[in-house]
Symmetry: C2
Subunit: 252 residues, 2 copies
Amino acid sequence: MARSSGGRSAISRAVEVLEAFDPSSNELTLTQIAARTGLPMATAHGIVTELIGLGLLERRGRDVILGVRLWELAVRAPGVVGLREIALPHLERVRDRLKQHAQLGILQGGEILYLERLSAPESVVNWTKVGGRIPWYATSSGLVLVADAPPERQDEVLGLPRPRFSVEPHPSSADLRPVLAKVRREGHAVTRGYIHPDATAVAVPIKGPYGHAVASIAVVVPTEGFRAAPVLEVLAPAAHAVSADLKQNYLG
Amino acid sequence: MARSSGGRSAISRAVEVLEAFDPSSNELTLTQIAARTGLPMATAHGIVTELIGLGLLERRGRDVILGVRLWELAVRAPGVVGLREIALPHLERVRDRLKQHAQLGILQGGEILYLERLSAPESVVNWTKVGGRIPWYATSSGLVLVADAPPERQDEVLGLPRPRFSVEPHPSSADLRPVLAKVRREGHAVTRGYIHPDATAVAVPIKGPYGHAVASIAVVVPTEGFRAAPVLEVLAPAAHAVSADLKQNYLG
């Protein structure tokens, strides 16, 4: 690949420009893009112009936004889209029965990436966004997915740095091992007030065709008056149904 | 930008590689990618390797697929994601009341791009896929969106070539003008058996904050026993509600 003086190829610089956008700043000026990527203004301008021509970026007034064309390409990613479509009717049923947020997450590096979040008008406070990430050790989905990962993957994730999120006390690897063993034994994780004191999350694993967890369904419910049993009564059958549909989809 | 001998920049070649994937072929071998892009194998290999390193592509066995990272970037595209999130609860209600497919589409060039499709177990045959496209003149959403577009945009779309889809008889621009005028007057479009004789679609416009249609909600229902009134009774209030939510979101 053609490399710039900075040693970054044209393609990787273009991806850096796309990555300058994040869930909370999805409209940027050229100056902001240059500042966030560390690219000279002229270089940033050239890449932005080219990406606009290709439809991956669009102009919105004086700002630039990620383009519809990028979304259109991305929904062809089978790792996300098949899973999301299979899980969606089951997530809806969970949300309708519990009248609280129901969300679908996968483990990416040391973070949970949320593929879907459905909410009800009555739902409690919730930090999650579709396409947003939260460190795995701060979420019920993360505990479930790491607990159910193959041993070498679990060790790898436990070896990653764990920046302080809003979990108190901050867990060490020694703390987390018995937590993960318990989650694995019980088949679900509960994080009571981890991210906000008013909200408690419960997650269960979705198993892939080879038996390991590939995703997780979680609900976020009020901490006040929380009881796990009625939540799990809804959550566990939903996760089993998604696992069964996935298996049929992959192997059928 | 650095340009190859073929005059295409590194970035545009990378986008061509991403665009080699389509909704019906979302797993490709390197040979298929080279064939679809017209790139030499060595060039295709270099770009694929770099895109895998950046997370935009992933390996799946001997094949390559679009990566989760691409999806994660794309859900930050405000043109799609805000609209989809605002529309989703209303689409669910339409699907639940009519027990048929409810879909959300936008006009992109001369085609309708479907941002969402919700289905019920009882739903009739339906061609639409999330992220899929259908020529505008073959869909109820297309008729509604072109009918409600500003005049210069309407002329532009009518001036595009209209490859034969499965609509018979194939419409000329002269045929389409009175159809569009009627759709605009009535505020909805019905395409009876256009794509499949068993399925009839009905679409209504979602208005943006400036009064033109920015998207459309459509349902696909059985042609047999079709009556427009009970469908519109559900569809029209849903579209109004999305329009109102959009307005609040943009201006509030």
